[in-house]
């Protein structure tokens, strides 16, 4: 009894936090995924695996297999991945540019990066419609990518910037001194120092991009529906909460597999950096 009390006293706050904000909601969602839709946005018995079957493309009787959801998931991974790549190409040099400015200019540029957060995300994405309409780009895949990069670039730049700030530039000189050309010296001496920031930036970009529905819904149209749109649709218009819950687990699973692959390739140290 005493040990149990001590257990809760020491682990208490952390466990409580995890329980309230993670374990219980996930458990509730899992419970919903096993129920049946009785009416619009209504659930009830009996317990069934039907929603899970539909997620993986089977009909109610598990006879036909139409893996549309998996295709949407694949497309989501590709679009989120390519958006992340665009963020890397634009954000990595940008982080260096900002970090290398004099102190006052640096804070100003960081402020510019953060200012968009002062306006509602939905409104900003709608604003892109106005910007892109004259070019006849809405809805299109191009507009989706534009919106994605616009939405997630700051999340990529900030962690990269904070690791560039900490870069020991003397190592660059050391590498050059030892015969490395400027590019090789950068790759050998500076790039490894920015790796933790780069990984954090990629995760902070890729994971929300994978789950987003606002950008693709507003700028992409029906052809670029992502897994996020499917989930949102079940909880919205379709009112099929069990199916939406099960779909959410598909998305969650995809993220976890990605993290697991990363942790495995980067080893223990990678896991710590990730956390």
């Amino acid at each position: 009894m005493l040990t149990l009390r001590r257990f809760f006293a020491t682990l208490g706050p952390g466990v409580l936090w995890l329980a309230v904000f993670l374990i219980v909601p996930v458990a509730i969602m899992f419970g919903y995924s096993l129920l049946t839709r009785t009416d619009l946005a209504q659930v009830g018995g009996p317990l069934t695996l039907e929603s899970w079957g539909r997620v993986f493309g089977y009909d109610a009787l598990f006879r036909e297999w139409v893996p549309d959801n998996l295709r949407v998931l694949g497309r989501s991974v590709l679009i989120a991945g390519f958006s992340t790549l665009l963020c890397i190409l634009m954000g990595y040099p940008l982080a260096f540019y900002i970090a290398r400015q004099p102190a006052r200019r640096k804070s100003f540029l960081l402020l510019l990066l953060i200012i968009p957060f002062w306006t509602n995300f939905l409104i900003r994405v709608y604003a892109w419609i106005l910007i892109l309409r004259p070019f006849d780009l809405v809805p299109s895949l191009t507009a989706t990518f534009l919106g994605m990069v616009y939405a997630f670039l700051p999340f990529f730049v900030l962690p990269v910037y904070s690791s560039v700030e900490k870069v020991d530039w003397r190592l660059l000189e050391a590498a050059q001194d030892l015969g490395a050309s400027p590019i090789k010296a950068f790759m050998a001496a500076v790039f490894p120092q920015t790796l933790p920031g780069l990984i954090a930036g990629i995760l902070l970009t890729f994971i929300p991009a994978l789950g987003t529905f606002v950008v693709s819904d507003i700028l992409g149209g029906a052809k670029t529906a992502l897994i996020g749109n499917l989930v949102q649709n079940q909880f919205g218009q379709a009112g099929d909460w069990p199916y939406g819950s099960a779909l959410s687990f598909l998305l969650m699973g995809a993220v976890l597999v990605g993290l697991w692959l990363y942790a495995r390739s980067a080893g223990q140290k990678g896991l710590e950096e990730l956390i």
Partner: protein
């Protein structure tokens, strides 16, 4: 042979002014000076990290001005060591050779030998974070010498270490330099370090070389007041040349006439500054009137272990005298307020160039 100007925030400051140095192949050469004297800038120009505004850098007779650092036959041991934290000790040492495309057995062989030379043979798999300051220093050294550069530049490499380790490494470094026969250019603000290790020293002040020479020459015959006080301590006595002969000069000072073996080429009536090292002053109880003697009173005594340092007052001037703390002289220690006679040997009275 080269000069340099540099501007910080728009304002132009002359960091190096009319520097003309000829460093000999295979010597241990030190750049000695206080912080801000330009010694590190000079080293960075040699390494290629900075460019001179005017003048040239020649290494082994080849003009290296404008050649980037990676193409110079020069390697640096940085003050901060600048080891690659994500690489093992072995990979740190192998870095330079790999850039040159050396691999396989030749790489292993040369890296192994360099690591043995600085006695870090067993640390190959460790990361720099898991090494002590002295060990990191050795890795930085091995990483540089493994490339067999024509010139090895060392930027205050011992300044981060504690005194005992520093003394050990001073000896090791100068032995290493002799064994390798490599040209070492060593930057330091520590005069003792420079004296212990160098073949020749350039004393720098405000972007200029004040004096260049062997350790003994600089110490025994400083040419300027700056050198006299930066390398050790000195008593400076102003005066006017009274008499000149082939054997030296006689200078009229506040302490009367002082004879020196130097200054045979000076003109009578010229204002000069005499300099004498504290340990060259001889303190005596009785006046033997052999000349070059000054009456003084003991103001303060500083006990430093190996010697007693006496602060003396003589004719309104402050003088410092060091007396060795030997057993024989134990009963000869002087007391506060004691009146003494100071003997200034003519061979130790140096005439400085500037008044």
């Amino acid at each position: 042979m080269f000069k340099s100007f540099r501007n910080a925030q728009g304002a132009e400051t002359r960091v190096l002014d009319d520097i003309d140095l000829d460093i000999r192949k295979g010597e241990f050469f030190s750049l000695l000076g206080p912080s801000g004297c330009g010694k590190t800038t000079l080293l960075r120009i040699l390494a290629g990290f900075e460019q001179p505004d005017a003048g040239a850098v020649l290494i082994g007779g080849r003009d290296m001005t404008g050649v980037p650092p990676n193409l110079r036959p020069v390697n640096t041991v940085f003050q901060s060591y600048a080891l690659f934290p994500h690489l093992s000790v072995y990979d740190n040492v192998a870095f330079g050779l790999r850039q040159k495309g050396i691999g396989g057995a030749a790489l292993r062989d040369r890296v192994g030998r360099a690591m043995e030379t600085v006695r870090i043979g067993d640390f190959g798999t460790r990361k720099p974070d898991n090494l002590s300051g002295g060990q990191r220093q050795r890795v930085a050294l091995a990483r540089a010498i493994v490339n067999e550069p024509e010139v090895l530049l060392l930027d205050e490499p011992l300044s981060a270490l504690d005194l005992k380790l520093r003394k050990e490494l001073q000896v090791e470094l100068s032995n290493l330099q002799e064994t390798l026969g490599m040209t070492f250019v060593f930057v330091t603000h520590d005069q003792e370090e420079a004296l212990v290790m160098s073949d020749r020293i350039a004393v720098m002040n405000r972007g200029r070389v004040e004096q260049l020479g062997k350790a003994e020459d600089l110490y025994e015959r400083p040419r300027t007041a700056f050198v006299a006080n930066f390398l050790g301590q000195s008593n400076l006595i102003p005066g006017k040349v009274q008499e000149v002969s082939p054997g030296g000069a006689v200078v009229l000072t506040e302490h009367g006439l002082l004879r020196t073996v130097y200054g045979a080429d000076l003109s009578v009536g010229r204002e000069v500054m005499l300099s004498i090292r504290p340990e060259k002053l001889r303190m005596e109880r009785d006046d033997e009137t052999e000349g070059n003697e000054v009456r003084a009173r003991v103001d303060d005594i500083v006990y430093t272990g190996a010697e007693n340092q006496y602060l003396l007052e003589a004719n309104g001037q402050r003088l410092v005298a060091f007396q060795l703390n030997s057993d024989i002289g134990a009963d000869e220690d002087f007391d506060y307020e004691e009146e003494v006679a100071l003997y200034l040997p003519p061979a130790s009275l140096v005439i400085l160039e500037e008044g």
